[in-house]
């Protein structure tokens, strides 16, 4: 009882604090200097139509590197943690319905292509490496659902992940050597604004990010999938 009332007090107090914050808020109607810069100078400097992309991949490229690293780490750790778990016998899973299997055959390539499209066009349209990567990974989910007992090799995913990760860094380093700094996109010509081959290295980087994210998310999904059936059904 005491514990519960303490909890209520804590939550109420936090709510009160947040309410203070809320009541101090008033919306703005101008971009601030920084965002204004991105929306004006940034366009010519980076050359990406999608401002968010220009911020994500170039101006805040280091964040993105970190972000990719986080996924990498997560995949790595989950691999480490669950490695011990998926030893031993696995119960054979039920086959998926014919319906799902057939649909998958059709959908898989389409989804995959959509994913690739999204990350290649990340500098032009909404979307980008992460979104594309996530869609790529969703193909894996579909595969796992439909082909329940197929073996999917980690190896391919690992190599994809490593190669794209290293490429990302190499591109970043090239930025230091050839252009203005780490992850500068101007190592490639900016090209014509609004076209696919524009915005310097952004499409390249975003492609690698897409591949990497896809591979990482896939690894995570795979790892979770592999522990399936190693345990009693109550989970």
């Amino acid at each position: 009882m005491l514990r519960n009332s303490l909890r209520v007090i804590i939550i109420a107090a936090l709510g009160w604090i947040l309410f203070q914050v809320y009541s101090g808020y008033s919306s703005r109607d101008e971009l601030n200097e920084l965002a204004g810069y991105y929306a004006t100078e940034g366009l010519s400097e980076v050359g990406a139509a999608n401002l968010v992309t220009s911020v994500v991949v170039t101006y805040r490229g280091l964040d993105t590197l970190g972000e990719v690293t986080i996924l990498f780490l997560t995949a790595l750790i989950i691999g480490l943690m669950l490695k011990a778990e998926h030893r031993g016998d696995r119960t054979r899973l039920r086959e998926s319905s014919e319906f799902l299997v057939t649909a998958s055959h059709v959908l898989l390539p389409v989804i995959f292509m959509v994913g690739v499209y999204i990350f290649i066009n990340g500098h032009l349209t909404p979307g980008g490496g992460f979104q594309g990567g996530a869609i790529l990974a969703s193909t894996l989910i579909l595969m796992l659902l439909s082909f329940t007992n197929s073996k999917i090799s980690h190896k391919v995913l690992e190599i994809t992940e490593s190669v794209s990760g290293i490429s990302f860094i190499v591109l970043g380093i090239l930025g230091v050597i050839l252009a203005g700094g780490f992850l500068d996109n101007k190592i490639l010509p900016l090209g014509e604004f609004g076209k696919l081959f524009s915005a310097g290295a952004i499409p390249v980087i975003y492609s690698f990010i897409g591949l990497k994210v896809g591979a990482e998310l896939s690894t995570i999904i795979l790892e979770f999938n592999q522990i399936q059936g190693t345990d009693d059904k109550s989970l």
Partner: protein
């Protein structure tokens, strides 16, 4: 005060409400999975908050296309920076949530329980 019913106020309020809800879940739910879900709620609420903070009324997404021309983009688009941040934050959230889940799984494998009160081998 009419402002209060404008969308950014509503979303911010909602995000705070979600935040409080999530925090309540975190400290009151006994099931570890529910705690993790509460954590996700908190996470999401903050993403919502960030996006809301980027919002400027009557403006559109920060992408130069037919709706926004290059020249006066600065008057047409909402703030792109929080969007970029949210993108990153979401991924981070995924990472942490995934990690929590796998921790929860291995813990469950050992103790066959998901009650957080049962995990007290370390104390004092």
């Amino acid at each position: 005060m009419t402002n209060l019913f404008s969308i950014e106020y509503i979303t911010i309020f909602t995000s705070f409400a979600l935040l409080v809800l999530g925090l309540w879940g975190i400290i009151s739910q006994k099931n570890i999975f529910k705690i993790i879900i509460s954590f996700s709620i908190v996470n999401t609420s903050i993403h919502l908050l960030l996006v809301s903070l980027a919002y400027i009324r009557n403006r559109t997404a920060p992408i130069i296309d037919s709706a926004v021309d290059r020249v006066n983009a600065a008057e047409k688009v909402v703030d792109p920076v929080p969007h970029a941040l949210v993108l990153t934050a979401i991924v981070i959230g995924i990472g942490i949530t995934a990690l929590m889940l796998s921790y929860a799984f291995t813990m469950y494998k050992q103790h066959k329980t998901l009650d957080i009160n049962q995990y007290k081998s370390l104390k004092w």
